[in-house]
C-alpha cells in the first residue's frame, strides 16, 4: 500500500488540523462568546439597563426627575385606582386591535396589487413607501389639517359626496371621532412598511406549489387563503407583533392632533401619552415608570401569545 505524497497530504491534513480535545470547549463556546461580548455589552447597556432602571424606578418615589425612597407597590396601586388610567389602558388596547386589523388587511391588499408585477409596480412601490419616510409629527400635523373642521379636505370631500352632516364637523371635539381620525393617520403611516414586508413574503410563495395548485384549478381566493397566507405564517406573526407594538407606541399623532394632548376631556388618552405626561409634565418618574412597566408586561404577553399561536400551527 503506497500513497502518493499528494494523497498523503490529503489524508493527513484533517488529522493535523483537528484541534486538541481541551480546546474544543473554547471553540464551541469561548470564542463565539468572546466575539459576541461587545455586542452583548451594547445590548445589555441599551436594552437591559433601561428596563432594569425603569422597573427599579417604578417601585420608588420619583418626583422632579429625582429618585426618591422605595415605596413598594404604591405607584401601581395608585395607577389602577385612577379611572383615567384604566380607561386609557382599555382605550389603547381597542385602538391597537383596530389599528392592527386595518394595517394588516390594507397592507395585504397593497402587497397583492404590487405583486401583480407589471412595470408600474416599481414606481408604485416607491410611492407606497413615501408615508413611511415622513416624520410622524409632520404627518400628524398634516392629518390634523386634513380633519380641520373649517378648512379640512376631509369634510370638503365628505360634503361633496353628499354627507351634508360633515359641514363644519369638528372631528376633534369628541373622543370617538378624534380616534377615528388618529387611527386613519396611524394606519396610513404603518401600512408602507408592513405592505413591503408582505410583498417580500408573497414573492417567496411563488413557484412550484402555486403552479401545482393552479393546475389543480384553485382560484385566486383559494390560492391566497389556503396556500400563500399559510406559507407566510411566520412572517405574518412577526408583522402582527410589529404592528401591535407600533400601535401601542403611537404617541406623536396623539400629541400633535389632540388638544390638550389626550383631550378633549381625557377622551383620547393612551398609555404612551399618559406615560409621557406623567414623566415630563407632571414630573413623577415613579408613576411614569410604573405605567411603562405595565405597557411592557402587556406587550410581552401579547408577543408571547403571537409566538405561541404561530408555533402551534407549524
Amino acid at each position: 500500500m503506497t500513497l502518493t505524497a499528494q494523497e498523503n497530504r490529503r489524508a493527513g491534513a484533517p488529522q493535523r488540523a483537528r484541534p486538541p480535545r481541551r480546546s474544543l470547549r473554547l471553540d464551541r463556546f469561548g470564542l463565539p462568546s468572546l466575539l459576541l461580548a461587545p455586542l452583548l455589552a451594547v445590548v445589555v447597556g441599551v436594552v437591559g439597563y433601561p428596563i432594569v432602571r425603569t422597573i427599579w424606578l417604578s417601585f420608588h418615589e420619583g418626583e422632579y426627575l429625582i429618585s426618591g425612597p422605595f415605596n413598594g407597590l404604591d405607584n401601581y396601586t395608585a395607577l389602577f385606582a385612577d379611572p383615567y388610567f384604566v380607561a386609557a389602558l382599555i382605550r389603547t388596547t381597542l385602538f391597537a386591535v383596530v389599528c392592527v386589523c386595518c394595517t394588516l388587511l390594507i397592507s395585504l391588499a397593497v402587497a397583492l396589487v404590487l405583486d401583480v408585477g407589471s412595470w408600474l409596480t416599481r414606481i408604485v412601490t416607491v410611492i407606497v413607501l413615501l408615508p413611511w419616510a415622513m416624520p410622524r409629527v409632520a404627518s400628524g400635523i398634516v392629518w390634523k389639517w386634513i380633519f380641520n373642521d373649517q378648512y379640512g379636505i376631509a369634510n370638503w370631500l365628505l360634503v361633496s359626496l353628499g354627507f351634508d352632516q360633515f359641514q363644519g364637523y369638528a372631528w376633534f371635539n369628541s373622543g370617538f371621532s378624534s380616534l377615528v381620525a388618529i387611527t386613519i393617520a396611524v394606519v396610513w403611516h404603518s401600512v408602507p412598511f408592513i405592505a413591503i414586508s408582505m410583498l417580500a413574503g408573497l414573492r417567496a410563495t411563488r413557484g412550484e406549489v402555486l403552479e401545482a395548485a393552479r393546475v389543480d384549478g384553485a382560484n385566486f381566493m383559494q390560492l391566497l387563503l389556503r396556500i400563500r397566507l399559510p406559507m407566510m405564517k411566520p412572517l405574518l406573526t412577526i408583522l402582527g407583533v410589529m404592528s401591535t407594538i407600533f400601535a401601542y407606541q403611537s404617541f406623536d399623532h396623539f400629541l400633535v392632533m389632540t388638544t390638550p394632548p389626550g383631550g378633549p376631556s381625557h377622551s383620547t388618552e393612551v398609555l404612551s401619552l399618559l406615560t409621557w405626561l406623567q414623566a415630563f409634565t407632571v414630573l413623577d418618574q415613579g408613576a411614569a415608570a410604573a405605567m411603562a412597566v405595565v405597557t411592557f408586561v402587556l406587550l410581552a404577553g401579547i408577543t408571547a401569545v403571537y409566538v405561541r399561536l404561530s408555533k402551534e400551527d407549524k
Binding site: 432602571r53 373642521d149 371635539n173 410589529m242 388638544t259 409566538v307
Partner: protein
Amino acid sequence: MQHRWRILTATSAAAGLLLLSACGEDAPAPATGGEVTGAIDVWMGDPIGATQQPVVIQLAKDYETAHPGTKVNLRFLGADAHKTYLTSIAGGTVPCVALIGNTWSPEFAGLKALEPIAQDPASMQGTYTQSMIDSTVLDGVSYAVPYDTGVRALIYRKDLFDAAGLAAPKTWDEVLTAATTVQKANEGVNGFGIVGGNQWYWLPMIWNWGGEIATNSGGAWTAKVNSPEAIAAFTFYAELLTKHKLAPEGSVTWQGADAAKAFALGQVGMMVGGSWDLKTIIAQNPGMEAQLATAPMPSGPGGNNDTFAGGSNLAIFKGCTNKATAKSFVDFMMRTDNLVPVTTKIGLLPATTDALEKERTTGSFSAPLLKAYAEQAPNTRSIPAVSTWGKVEGTGAIVNAMQSIMNGQKTAEAAMQELAGQIDAAIGQQ
C-alpha cells in the same frame, strides 16, 4: 430554541418603549468670588426667537466690552426650554443666568435651583409690575427678576362694531350682547373667538367673577375653582359656545392661533388676544389693520378686569460658580435702554415700571392698537405661586374641565368639583 429567540427579539423591541431614566445629583458648590470677571453661561428659550436673537447677541457683546475680562456664552433653547432646564437641574449642569417662563419660577425655586433675588419681595414693589413680582415668589422669597410681560386684551372689528352702532364692551355681559349683534348682522361672521384649548384665554374670568383659582392659608393651598363664582365664570364662557353659538363647534379645541387665523379670515368679530395674536392677525391679513381696534379686558360681576400676566423672568441659578458676573449681567439686561429693544422686538411689555411707562407713552405700545395692552398691564395677576403648579398645567386638567362642560359631558358643578380635586392633589399639602 428558535422561537425563544424570537420572543427575546420581539420583547426587546417592545423594550424600546421604555426609555425612562433619570439621575439626580447636586450641583457643585458655588464658589462666590466678588469680582466681575470670567465667563457665564446664559440660556434663553421662548420668547427669544430668531428675530430677537441678534439684539440679545449685541447686548452680550456690549456687556463684554463694558466689562473687560468677562465672557457671555449665550445659548438659545427655543420652544422646549422647560424640559431643558429641568434636565439640567436634575443633571447638575445649570447655566448661570436664564430667561425662564414666569410660571416656572416657583417650580424651579421649589427644586432649590434658583438663587434668591430678594428676601423681602415688598422691596421690589414699584420697580416691577406687581403681578410679575408675585410670579417670582415662593414662600415669601423672590427668586427671579421680572423681565417681560404678556397680557391679553379685547381685539375687535371696528368696522363691524361701528356699523352696528356698538362701542367697545366694558363688561362680559356687553361682550355677549355685542357678539350676538355682530353675528346676527354679518353673515359668515362669528361673534366671538372662543379658545377652548388654551386656559389662559378664560381662566382669569374666575377673578373677574370675584373668585379665586386657589388660596393660601398658612402655607397650605386649597383649590377654589368649585366656588359659585368660578362655576359661574366657566359656565358663562362655555355658554358663549353651547347656548349662544358665537363660534364654530371646533373652537372647543381651538388655540389662540386658530382664533387669530379665523379672525384674519374675517370670520370672527371679536376675540380675547395677546399682542402676539394681534401681530398674527395683521401678518396674515395686512389689509385688516385699519379695521381693527383693541380695548382693555371686560370686567365681570366681581368688579375687576384682571387677566393673567404671562411673561418671563431672569433668574440666577444656585449652581452658578460666577455669581458676581451673573448679577452684574442681570442688572445690565434690566436697564431700560437694554430691556426695551428686546421687549419691543418680542412684541411684549417690559416688566419694569419705568420701561413700561416709556413704552406706553412714547414707545412701541403708544400706538393706538397697542395702547390697550399697556393699560391692561397693571390689572394682571399671577397664577398661584406654588412649586407644584406645573402639574396642574401639565395634565391639561383645566382645559379638560372646560371642554367637558362645553361638550355637555359634565355639568359645570361636577366638572369644577373634579378639577378642584385635581388641583388639590397637585398643589395641596402632600
